[in-house]
Amino acid sequence: MTAEPQTPADRPMVSIENVSKSYGHRQVLFDIDLAVAAGETVCLIGPSGCGKSTLLRCVNNLEDIDRGLVLVDGSLVGYRVHRGRLRELRENAACRQRTQVGMVFQHFNLFPHMTALENIAFAPVRVLGEDRTAARAHAQELLRSVGLADKADAYPSRLSGGQQQRVAIARALAMRPKVMLFDEPTSALDPELVGEVLNVMRDLAAGGMTMIVVTHEMGFAREVASRVVFMDAGRIVEQGPPHEVLGNPRHERSRAFLSAVLP
């Protein structure tokens, strides 16, 4: 969990290079460059609508990008190189690639017609072709690791928001991803349920998972992040260790934002 300076030898786990994106005429990302090393936990912070979530969704190809490249563990996201040209991946190849990246959403997005266990075991069986019994055993183990061993047969509607989000994290982990993306994982939760989700994420970071977290939880960012990236209006304004960016922001925009959110 250290933000070591990159040497050419250890290539970044996630590399975002010169990425721009527009929705119609409105440009939401401007030439973003960001590299995340293996085992790093990067927190993306910034005001609503600054493009953090869009950037996150670009990493696992849920959004098309207009310019620039994204690489995960050295391989291009959404494209392959063929005779010196980029070619867009066919659907199944793109799907196979997405399995390397786990994603957790603000509104959990659990499948309401499946139990907690089925939510977790479904994709490993269906997409990775894992053996059903093995996948269910793995799912049960993941449920235990997020503290929900007794909720295997519960449908999402019977779980609290915090429990649902922990199942969602377990579901993403079941694919054994190389990177985990969190899109405001605690924003839709009642305040007293935030802690249980952050604890799971803290354990995950301590276990060496590479994580990119869009969050408004400054306490979590300060404590767990190896690096904090502040974005505003589609650009990265500043980045660095949490105590610097959160404790002593250099830019006016980040100072204004942080003085509004920090207690």
């Binding site: 799907c95 990246v101 994603m103 959403f105 659990l110």
Partner: protein, 289 residues
């Protein structure tokens, strides 16, 4: 305030000022209306029951007549086949309608527009008389002269087949919109989550979206099934051999027009009562989760 209420001015003797003793508002209008409604219903029922020109024993006599039974079976079969083909067609057309390809989606839109726009009776007569302008049905490879299958329309297109085709075309047009509404009711978050787990769009639709959409789709489909059952009566215009066709054929011979219609009506009611009960149970089970 409380003291004032317990001793209102001008009240003598022991006042009874508890809520239990309060006099509720009397709805005289409702009472009068109820009596009127009951009277109208009773008189109408009496007009049928006691009409000397309707011979109820004849209704009872024909209720289980072999021809009526055969007609009822054909009506049920026609409804079942029409429903199966309609649902399959509706899912296909709804998915086409949502295709990113504009050509495919507008083809589906045109299909829905055409078959919802034509009155069913016209569609049935049209399909029933297809033989008037098409002589043979031929399946082959164009421009090669290779013929895989060919036979005269009149032979293949029996009134029963024409009925099922007409009902399916119209039904799939209506139901495609129901299916599409159900698919659209499932939020983008579900698709995002499935996609992020590496599911392709076919598996996402099949395992994630469709099962959830069923909740939204099944209740109106129950209504469509009941409509379909009643719509089968229209195929009597092309002699589809259904319950009403048979009932009318019998009345043509015995001149018991009203009695035969009542026989058919009793059976339609009976089947619809069963279907309504099934629909109720099904909706309850779906709502449970």
């Amino acid at each position: 305030m409380a003291e004032q209420i317990s001793h209102p001015p001008g009240v003598t003797g022991a006042p009874r000022l508890t809520r239990q003793d309060a006099v509720p508002v009397r709805h005289y209008g409702r009472g009068v209306l109820a009596v009127l409604v009951v009277a109208v219903v009773a008189l109408t029922a009496y007009a049928f029951a006691a009409n000397p020109k309707i011979e109820w024993p004849v209704v009872g006599e024909y209720l289980f007549h072999p021809d009526i039974m055969a007609g009822l079976m054909r009506t049920l079969l026609m409804t079942a086949l029409g429903m199966i083909f309609s649902v399959i067609g509706a899912v296909v057309v709804a998915l086409m309608r949502m295709s990113p390809s504009r050509i495919i989606s507008s083809t589906a839109a045109a299909y829905i527009f055409v078959f919802r726009g034509i009155p069913l009776i016209l569609l049935l007569i049209f399909v029933g008389n297809l033989g008037l302008f098409m002589e043979r049905i031929t399946i082959g490879v164009p421009f090669t002269g290779l013929v895989l299958y060919s036979s005269p329309v009149q032979e293949v297109l029996t009134p029963f087949a024409a009925s099922v085709i007409g009902l399916s075309l119209a039904g799939s047009g209506y139901m495609a919109e129901i299916v599409r509404g159900g698919l659209l009711a499932i939020g983008r978050g579900q698709r995002d989550a499935a996609k992020a787990l590496g599911l392709n769009s076919l598996n996402t639709t099949r395992f994630i979206v469709l099962p959830q959409a069923l909740r939204v789709i099944v209740p109106p489909m129950g209504n469509e099934l009941i409509s379909m059952l009643k719509a089968t009566a229209i195929v009597s215009v092309i002699g589809g051999g259904d319950l009403l066709t048979v009932a009318q054929a019998i009345s043509g011979a015995n001149y018991r027009t009203i009695e035969m219609l009542l026989v058919a009506a009793v059976w339609y009611f009976a089947v619809i009562a069963v279907l309504t009960a099934v629909q109720y149970v099904l909706e309850r089970r779906i709502a449970e989760r």
